[in-house]
């Protein structure tokens, strides 16, 4: 096929170009995402929407580690998101701890919860996993509802407004939406860098091996249960970080943060954007929240539109927006 005809090398070059583009995107994925995030507040209709895309995008990135890369469909990630948010709010509001300690506590608490729920749910196989994670996260929801002296019960957690924070000696006005966005973005950027490193590591290859063929991964000598648990925990940690960011941002933790509808929203965002791709979750969060924002202008029943769009995606574009774009470029 080397010297046989002239059109072939041209076609090969044409095929190589998009692959080259994808390779460049992959190599520069963290700086590119951060650049896009830097521009986000100036492109979107409101600053509040930009913060939401940042927070939900990060949850979806964390969730994608488990769903997209390890192949485990959890319906309980609201628990870790909510646990991070509640722990941060309680640490600031009831113990008067400084914000960075509260953030660290939130991440640790959410991560610890992920270990417990992960240990229980990974004992089950296949389709059970989704049901068990959903049920266990509902347990967390009801526990928060009952422990109202700590969590504020149905009214949500209030009274921990962070007005000013000092970052590396610089005082930042946290009530200024732009300043707040960029502070939160630093955390998101760190998490993105971490996820990128994880995916490039041997561990990243191991979780993808489990997704592709669990039996073969086991036969190759991988400790499948431990790898799954680690992936579950890492994914929970990132969702917990997003939770602490949400608490700092809203200065309130609504009880619904813990409801499995939040988990479902995370699933929808990840799938809409493209599960198993690095940029997909952010694209999905952006698409989801933008749809909500635009449709809410003319009807309060935006969920019916978003839900229908999601159904159409499952039926016809299961790779999501980004995943479809990638395979379209590769197949051209």
């Amino acid at each position: 096929m080397t010297s046989q005809s002239s059109p072939l090398p041209v076609m090969a070059a044409a095929a190589a170009r998009p692959a080259g583009l994808v390779a460049t995107l992959t190599a520069w994925r963290v700086p590119l995402t951060i650049l896009a995030l830097c521009l986000l507040p100036w492109v979107l209709p409101s600053k509040a929407l930009a913060v939401n895309v940042l927070i939900y995008g990060l949850i979806a990135v964390g969730y994608n580690l488990l769903f997209g890369y390890t192949g485990l469909l959890s319906f309980g990630h609201a628990a870790f998101f909510g646990a991070g948010a509640y722990a941060t709010g309680i640490a600031i509001g009831q113990f008067g701890l400084p914000w960075f300690v509260a953030v660290a506590l939130g991440v640790v608490f959410g991560g610890a919860l992920a270990v417990v729920i992960g240990l229980l749910s990974i004992r089950t196989r296949g389709i059970y996993f989704s049901m068990v994670t959903l049920a266990l996260s509902q347990l967390v929801y009801y526990a928060a509802l009952q422990a109202s002296s700590w969590t504020g019960g149905e009214n949500g957690l209030r009274g921990f407004t962070v007005a000013k924070i000092s970052l590396f000696g610089v005082a930042v006005d946290f009530l200024n939406p732009v300043a707040k966005y960029y502070v939160l973005m630093i955390f998101a950027a760190l998490a993105l860098w971490l996820v990128s490193r994880i995916l490039n590591s041997p561990f990243g290859a191991a979780i993808e091996a489990i997704r592709e063929n669990e039996t073969r991964a086991r036969a190759c000598g991988y400790d499948v249960e431990r790898t799954k648990l680690l992936s579950f925990t890492l994914s929970g940690l990132i969702c917990a970080l997003a939770g602490t960011m949400s608490a700092l941002h809203l200065a309130i933790v609504p009880l619904d943060t813990l409801h499995y509808h939040t988990s479902g929203m995370i699933v929808m965002m990840t799938l809409l954007g493209g599960a198993g791709s690095f940029f997909g979750p952010f694209v999905g969060a952006l698409a989801f929240l933008l749809m909500e924002d635009v449709i809410s202008l003319w009807t309060s029943h935006w969920q019916i539109v978003v839900g229908s769009v999601f159904i159409l995606f499952v039926l016809f574009l299961p790779k999501g927006i980004w995943g479809t774009a990638l395979s379209w470029r590769a197949g051209r």
Binding site: L73, F75, L120, S121, R123, T124, R125, G126, I127, Y128, S130, M131, V132, L134, A135, L136, Q138, L139, Y142, A143, L145, Q146, E214, T215, H259, Y260, H261, G264, V267, M268, L271, H301, Q303, I304, V306, G307, S308, F310, I311, V314, L315, P318
Partner: protein, 291 residues
């Protein structure tokens, strides 16, 4: 804390469990046959309750609602299987699950548009209101009725599955769909019927539950999580498991409500966690290696 109170609470638990059995049974039958976890199951329970309410208010009779709503929603379930789930059989098991989750989302919002977001009280039919003296205490007639209906449905279902030709096809199809196809059975039609049956059962549960609680668009969300707990405890795909676990959960919840009310919402999840630790495949589930 006398014996009569405990007996009454125990009975409420059985009534609660009866509703859970209807929901979990539908979930389990659909999974056993089609390998689909229906995340819209709770939403269809809720749609069933609304359909019952609507038919009852239209005809002025609870009985028509009880009869027509499950049939209509069952037919609606068949349409869902045919239009939405059928294209996904060759794909990953997660895809029907994701699709039905989206469907549940849409159904809840559609009901909000048609009936409003607020809960609607559902009158207990006059014939079934009040209490009955059973010698050991006074029990609400409506709950006795619910337990009776569920018991009757269970007997009919058992007779259908064990004693009829169609039941034989359904059971064989759950074992090995490929062999059934080789034997010339149109398995697609069986799946259509089974999906409709499962949805009809949860809709019946919805209508039966309606007079015991308010009818609201959110009522399905709670029920879905409860049905999952029951299914995990009983063992996925096991019908006897759904019945035993449904009663177990119902009684555990109502007894906890009596002795430690603040734990009532949590106890079923704790029970599930315990079962997962001791017997991950559920009480009546078969241990399988992978899916």
């Amino acid at each position: 804390m006398d014996a009569e109170l405990i007996a009454m609470q125990l009975f409420s638990g059985v009534a609660l469990g009866a509703i859970l059995i209807m929901v979990a049974l539908g979930l389990s039958i659909i999974f056993g046959m089609l390998g689909v976890v229906n995340f819209a199951h709770g939403a269809l329970f809720m749609v069933g309750a609304y359909a019952g309410l609507w038919v009852a208010s239209l005809t002025g009779s609870f009985w028509w609602g009880l009869l027509i709503a499950p049939l209509a929603i069952g037919a609606f379930g068949m349409a869902i299987e045919f239009l939405l789930i059928r294209p996904l059989y060759k794909r990953s098991v997660d895809d029907p699950l994701l699709l039905t989750f989206g469907l549940g989302y849409v159904l809840v919002e559609a009901v909000r548009i048609v009936f409003g977001s607020d809960g609607i009280p559902f009158e207990t039919p006059a014939l079934l209101s009040g209490v009955a003296d059973l010698g050991i205490g006074f029990f609400p007639v409506y709950r006795l009725f619910v337990v009776g209906v569920v018991a009757a449905v269970l007997v009919l279902l058992w007779l259908f599955l064990e004693k009829t030709k169609y039941g034989l096809i359904v059971r064989a199809g759950a074992r090995d769909p490929l062999i059934m196809r080789v034997l010339g059975v149109d398995i697609g039609r069986v799946w259509l019927m089974v999906f409709g049956l499962g949805i009809g059962l949860t809709a019946l549960g919805g209508v039966l539950a309606a007079p015991m609680r308010n009818v609201s668009p959110e009522m399905g969300a709670l029920v879905l999580a409860e049905a999952f707990v029951v299914t995990v405890i009983g063992g996925m795909g096991s019908l006897i498991g759904a019945v035993v676990a449904g009663l177990l959960v119902g009684v555990a919840v109502s007894m906890t409500a009596l002795f430690a009310p603040e734990m009532a919402t949590i106890v079923m999840f704790a029970l599930m966690a315990l079962v997962l630790l001791v017997r991950p495949q559920g009480l009546f589930g078969r241990a399988v290696a992978g899916h």
